[in-house]
């Protein structure tokens, strides 16, 4: 099997609203920037894959509009996932592993500003037993948070500390939507306060993957993907132990995350309580730097926030700040689906 690496990453500044821009107008600077980092042009890319959701846009086949931004002209080899872009990256990785392409462009975007995103996300739930009750994304996360509190694995001060650490770290991230310390605020759905929840906003991200020597050519210190896997929990919330994430643990195991310790972890935990669950599933202790970017609590463009975790982890490797980083992405309510990737820099010589 050949080696594949993330060689470039870019993202928008994430904002509460980008109403003056269409999706493709928001996305295009990101695409241009990520290509510029590698010197590639759209026509040089072997495979293009994107992630987004029609439910955010409120329009069918909305991703076709964004395709204008990549020069989607035959014979482009292109695909789309109706999910977070992290899963588009997985598809691109497989494409490169099989040798069907040497380079891939992965991008994703989400504008949450046009619709009521808490309600919109209820439409991804089981349509027989859950969707008719309209339990919104914050409510479902709050049920999980209370389960953790009841189990003695967290309390409100511990959750507040996660919020504070994330927003403080985000002060160094020029793209983040919420930067610097903030008040925990009122209960949104108890036990979660405003500070425990991600900001609602718009944003986009792009990543370039390359295989073998091509990666070395395009990037001084490629972030090699040592393993990547994604798994899912049982569909029904009531059969799950909400305080645990066995699917994350299994994905991490299959990705090789437990073979050696990582120094950095970018976790896609939109709610503070979810970081508690993920740390346990991934066996991360305080020696690991978790979400130095501020994570999804600082910017959560739906459908791009997971891809951004992969991009931030790779960028830490590119900059030489990390030797071995873990990136995690999630989708669905209460950490329903989970993807884990392990990224490494080339070992230092001498």
């Amino acid at each position: 099997m050949r080696d594949v690496a993330i060689v470039a990453f870019s993202q928008t500044d994430h904002r509460r609203s980008t109403e003056e821009l269409s999706e493709v107008e928001m996305l295009m600077p990101v695409l241009h920037e990520v290509l510029e980092q590698t010197g590639l042009r759209t026509g040089d890319i072997g495979f293009t894959c994107s992630g987004s959701s029609d439910y955010l846009a409120g329009r069918a086949f909305s991703f076709t509009m964004a395709l204008d931004g990549v020069g989607a002209w035959p014979p482009i080899s292109e695909s789309h996932v109706e999910m977070d872009g992290a899963w588009a990256l997985y598809e691109a990785w497989v494409k490169l592993l099989t040798g069907e392409a040497d380079t891939a462009l992965v991008y994703s975007y989400g504008k949450s500003s046009p619709g009521p995103v808490r309600d919109v996300l209820t439409r991804q739930l089981d349509p027989y037993y859950l969707a008719p009750l309209w339990p919104d994304s914050v409510a479902l996360a709050a049920l999980q948070a209370q389960a953790l509190i009841d189990a003695g694995e967290a309390d409100e001060p511990a959750l507040a500390a996660i919020a504070a650490r994330s927003r403080s770290d985000a002060a160094g991230n020029p793209h983040a939507q919420l930067r610097g310390p903030r008040d925990q605020g009122e209960y949104l759905v108890r036990p979660l306060r405003t500070g425990d929840c991600p900001p609602i906003g718009d944003g986009a991200a792009g990543v370039v993957l390359a295989a073998g020597d091509k990666a070395r050519e395009l990037c001084e210190r490629p972030a090699w993907i040592r393993g990547m896997d994604h798994r899912i929990e049982a569909h029904s919330l009531g059969v799950r132990d909400l305080t645990d994430s066995p699917s994350t643990r299994l994905a991490a195991e299959r990705a090789g995350a437990f073979e050696r310790p990582v120094d950095t972890a970018e976790l896609h935990a939109p709610f503070t309580s979810q970081e508690v669950v993920l740390r346990k599933a991934l066996d991360l202790d305080e020696r690991v730097r978790v979400n130095p970017s501020g994570g999804a609590l600082a910017a959560n463009p739906v459908m791009a926030a997971g891809l951004i975790r992969l991009g931030e982890a790779a960028a830490a490797v590119h900059r030489g700040e990390s030797e071995r980083a873990l990136a995690h992405a999630t989708s669905g309510p209460c950490l329903q689906q989970n993807l884990v990737a392990v990224l490494e820099g080339e070992p230092h010589v001498g």
């Binding site: 295009m28 204008d68 009750l133 209370q146 759905v189």
Partner: protein, 322 residues
């Protein structure tokens, strides 16, 4: 005070409504029909676990399960969350608790709402019972919500009784209505296009790389993947490049059928747009026909296009735009 106003962001309400009709399998049908009859059913796995709400396949083994059992309408809260501001379409309009409830006789929990006076009245482990909706149709909302209940759980409920799942007039499908309200904003390129239309002008945008003029512009050249920004006025006249004859009347549209819908290459544009053709019998529309827009009173876009009376365009002048 005079100042340069920021470009106006155009906004319009966009309502998406979709009543999905979904058919039910034998297990979901029995469960939802049971709710209509105030009977709560679960399924028993081969390992002896009772799942409520029931599913057709064991989440652990993927084994098909059909063994229906009846559980109680009372249960225990396994986790909860206080919802101070109910959102539209949620089960209760006053503040309530979301709860996961393990019904007596079940091993898994069901999500629903709990009617309680405040968060201090709710805790994990509290006893609750179903409050049935007055009108029941065979849906999860036949449970109006849960309410506090002072009875203790029965001793051990391993013996949840078997149930045939058979009811008179079973529910075989559910309709899941959904409505989402968005605010649509078209972005820079389309806003410029729409604003020009208000002045009865049609504008495209030229790609700085391949020089093609796109109309309506979307802000990017789909061939080159670069931003377009140079405004170009196109038309108003154009050429029919291809067309179809519409014979079926669309809902809420008062145009007599048959009529012609056509692709029109406006003069100066490198992409055809589409519009209705009027002012000529439908069976006389042809490729190459020269047309011009007809604006309705106060309309923000051409109502239709009509023949200009010029000679037909030569095929070579529009063949690249087909």
């Amino acid at each position: 005070m005079p100042s340069t106003p920021a470009p106006e962001v155009l906004r319009a309400p966009l309502v998406v409504e979709f009543p999905f009709t979904r058919s039910l399998g034998p297990v979901q049908s029995a469960f939802l029909t049971g709710l209509r009859e105030r009977t709560v059913l679960g399924v028993k796995t081969s390992g002896g676990r009772v799942l409520v709400p029931p599913v057709e396949y064991d989440p652990e083994t993927a084994e098909e399960i059909r063994d229906l059992v009846e559980v109680e309408a009372t249960g225990t809260v396994t986790t909860w969350a206080w919802n101070p501001e109910p959102r539209p379409a949620q089960p209760l309009t006053t503040p309530f608790a979301w709860v996961m409830v393990r019904l007596d006789g079940a091993d898994t929990a069901l999500l629903h709402a709990l009617d309680a006076p405040g968060p201090d009245a709710v805790r994990t482990g509290m006893r609750v019972r179903v409050r049935w909706a007055a009108e029941r149709t065979g849906a999860i909302t036949d449970i109006a919500c849960f309410e506090p209940h002072d009875g203790a759980a029965g001793p051990d409920h391993d013996g949840a009784p078997h149930h045939s799942g058979e009811f008179a007039d079973p529910v075989t499908r559910v309709v899941a209505p959904a409505r989402l309200d968005y605010t649509y904003t078209p972005g820079r390129a389309q806003a410029r296009f729409i604003n020009a239309l208000a002045g009865q002008r049609i504008t495209g945008e030229r790609c700085p790389s391949c020089r093609k003029v796109y109309v309506p512009p979307r802000g990017a050249c789909p061939t080159c993947g670069v931003a377009t920004s140079e405004q170009v006025e196109v038309g108003p006249r154009g050429t029919v490049t291809t067309y179809c004859i519409v014979n079926i009347k669309a809902k809420n549209l008062d145009i007599e059928v048959p009529y012609v819908y056509a692709h029109i290459a406006l003069d100066g544009a490198d992409l055809a747009l589409h519009a209705r053709i009027g002012g000529i019998p439908y069976d006389q529309v042809r490729m190459g026909l020269r047309v011009e827009p007809v604006w309705s009173e106060g309309g923000r876009h051409p109502d239709h296009y009509r023949p200009t009376g010029e000679p037909d365009a030569d095929y070579d002048t529009y063949k690249e735009l087909l």
